[in-house]
Symmetry: C2
Subunit: 474 residues, 2 copies
């Protein structure tokens, strides 16, 4: 297999000439092959050793190129399954006018290049409130004292921490004191810091979740142990049976990706475990502001601020590009986190922090969220209605919340549906991709369909492609 791929690799004409050395050339060649569809999503790449031998270059150069392309989202690496072309293509701009060759919008290109994507991870970034953000930036920068442009500490700007404390109390029931809020450059930075502060031992993670979350945790020196997830969320009652667990990473408002909220009994069990053991619950509230059927359940942190770390982010509510997130910490974690965060290595820019503070306190954030809730809700309603009309055999599970829906499939059909979707030019992800490989096998076939991402003009087309890929009804 590997050898035949390596030959295939040669057939791909990976052109390693051009500026910037071998590494840059290999990166370019692989990106081009993925972009053009010559390497289809899901294709397994040869080992770095094998491709290096085939191309006559150093193995490290290939391994490094794979690492970079995984980081960039072109490839994905899963333990035991090697390196593959990513299923989940982050939506990219199509600056057709700037790039000379290649088809523009309109007539579709090759069938194996996705025309549509319903893959989760990104909000609708086309809806970023540019005008309102710039207006807030103008007010914030005009009013800022000179010292705001100087050095600051890793705590985060006090203006933002103060406004967030009010906002989180009001919107999410978080019991927050500005002195216990630390700003970080995204959820992952917070998770990395907390993992390092917890030190050695194990961190329980939900059996369905994100592989790069688990990677950050293990890179920090902790091991992960899967906690089973069912229709009531994570089975937190099982925490007491686990040894050497320092904390548990949970998504209580809307389990990612299965889409259920944590049952009240499970919430209580999590808190009880933390109190009994001195452990910490890390509450990943990634989309808690997006619930469409009722007022969202308050954050778990409100039950016990001394045992729950609340983690919120602007990545889903505004834009991932801001790299702004916040932790509300139990008192005894504040100093260790600040000490680790240091004085300049892990800091976020102050101007965006000031702008976000102004955006929040002026009410622009609430207005933006109201608009986005309507938009996402309409998208979800469209999807659910289309499924009811054309694929009644497919059940939508989970609550009306967030940026994705879970579509339950007949047993054993998930891979076939994903392949059919690929043939329809639709990038899509199955539930099994999110399953922790360390968890016992589960016979559950489903799709994780993100409705937030496609631009308005292509959403209907994406849903049509999805419908064509679903298994036929009775």
């Amino acid at each position: 297999m590997e050898n035949s791929w390596a030959t295939f690799g040669r057939d791909l004409h990976l052109d390693l000439t051009g500026p910037g050395g071998l590494r840059a050339a290999l990166l370019r060649a692989l990106r081009d092959a993925v972009r053009s569809g010559r390497l289809a999503p899901g294709t397994r790449l040869p080992s770095s050793r094998s491709l290096a031998a085939d191309l006559g270059i150093a193995r490290n150069t290939v391994a490094d190129a794979y690492t970079e392309l995984v980081a960039e989202g072109w490839l994905s690496a899963r333990q035991g399954s090697g390196t593959r072309v990513a299923e989940r293509l982050l939506p990219r701009a199509a600056p057709a006018a700037r790039r000379a060759p290649g088809p523009g919008p309109g007539p579709a290109g090759r069938a194996d290049r996705p025309r549509f994507a319903l893959t989760p991870g990104t909000p609708d970034v086309s809806a970023f409130p540019r005008t309102a953000w710039l207006a807030a930036a103008r007010r914030a920068l005009t009013a800022a004292p000179s010292e705001a442009f100087g050095y600051h500490t890793s705590y985060g700007r006090p203006e933002l921490r103060t406004v967030l404390a009010d906002y989180l109390a009001r919107a999410r029931g978080v019991r927050a004191d500005p002195d216990r809020i630390v700003i970080c450059a995204g959820f992952l930075q917070g998770l990395a810091l907390l993992s390092r502060v917890l030190g050695t031992g194990r961190l329980a993670v939900e059996s369905y979740g994100l592989d790069f979350h688990r990677a950050v945790i293990t890179r920090a020196g902790l091991r992960t142990v899967p906690l089973p997830v069912d229709e009531r969320g994570a089975r937190t009652g099982e925490l007491t049976a686990l040894d050497d667990v320092r904390g548990a990473l949970l998504t209580p408002a809307h389990q990612f990706p299965t889409g259920v909220p944590l049952h009240p009994d499970r919430r209580a069990a999590a808190i009880n475990w933390a109190r009994a053991t001195g452990g910490f619950i890390l509450e990943d509230d990634y989309d808690g502001e997006f619930r469409y059927d009722r007022k969202p359940v308050g954050a778990l942190q409100g039950l016990d601020p001394d045992h729950v770390v609340y983690l919120g982010t602007a990545s889903k509510s505004l834009a991932p590009a801001l790299r702004l997130a916040w932790m509300v910490l139990p008192e005894r974690l504040v100093d260790p986190v600040l000490a680790l965060k240091g004085t300049g290595e892990w800091q976020s820019g102050a101007l965006d922090q000031l702008t976000l503070a102004e955006f929040l306190s002026s009410g622009a954030y609430d207005r933006h969220l109201r608009g986005m809730r309507l938009r996402y809700r309409r998208r979800r309603d469209q999807l659910v209605a289309a499924l009811a009309d054309h694929a009644p055999q497919v059940q939508v599970s989970g609550i009306a919340a967030g940026l994705h829906a879970v579509l339950e499939l007949p047993p054993g059909t998930e891979q076939a549906v994903l392949q059919a979707a690929r043939r329809q030019g639709l990038a899509l992800e199955g539930l099994s991709r999110f399953r922790d490989p360390a968890a016992p096998p589960a016979a559950r076939d489903a799709l994780v369909v993100a409705y937030g991402t496609p631009p308005d003009h292509s959403f209907a087309g994406a849903v049509d492609a999805l419908l064509r890929a679903l298994p036929p009804g009775e």
Copy 2:
């Protein structure tokens, strides 16, 4: 001594009541004591053990508070010399109208609270080009493709890397390819990443430099070894005599803090050493854009881009608050740095990156630098003229560049001048503060006087206070 201070600590009435627990209360109390001048700059604090015993609280609480206050710049910790109230008070805003008690601007408060600061580290942040920056932000955000608001890689935005490659070639003689530029959140993040990539062994540092640079290096797992600095800069010829050295951190354009450029022979010796050993020169070009007597000497990196890492920053040219810096890397360091930087933990916000790219390409950066050069040069001329008129016995050494000047003092007078400055309400730093404690003792008394920081209305007063603190002439 410690006991008497501890008693003094009680006399300070450190009030540990109020919201947020003991840690927060102690932080507040110590900040208040420094801010109000009850704890004068340079005062040695008791050990955490001693203060904890005196206050009847846990030692860790005190130790953690010290760590945080060092991080915030209120205190400084030097090996062998304990924890002291920082000499170098970062300029703070004086929101007199918001803070109820305490004297406003005008009649000076107590003599032991600095009224003026000529301490290095920060540019004139009052000159941040708010209007031009906001205009660039508006253009950049309006023109940005939607994907710019989504997730991005740790490489940094391509728009910024492309513009920087041109700018650095033109302004600093850097041989830069956008693919070899990595954006980082300040010089310290770059230094931390590079130190970790270099792995184990030693990094040579200039015998005069910044303690927190050395701290970042050792925290990454390297040891530092001092390289003597004289009137021709770092004695790079001595690198070959040192064992187990992976690289050398140098300030070739303008040695910090002694103010001399690296002599051409020393530049050649550094490159020769790197070529012979496979080591790396880390070129800290913190203020290379500010030279007043001639066109600045090009970056050392231009001599050998395969052995020199160029590190530049917006912290001195624009504002530390941006947390934007850049590394131009030898080809073989690009992948290791990117792999370590990861996919979300060490990233900088994209909006400021896009804005800086627009700020550079529109010419606003050049215009800003021209204005700042004039401003700093005028400040420097004022200082030099005042010294020539009123303290001709004090020689200004170093070149006409950057944001600080070195004033040579008669042997043995440095500490006395610093004390006299304190009595004049002037925060000032001596050269000895920057000396690597691991370097052999040197009998050199001097002041490091930063002329960039004080607001215009107080610069003349600061210079007057300095003149009064200097030793009398013959």
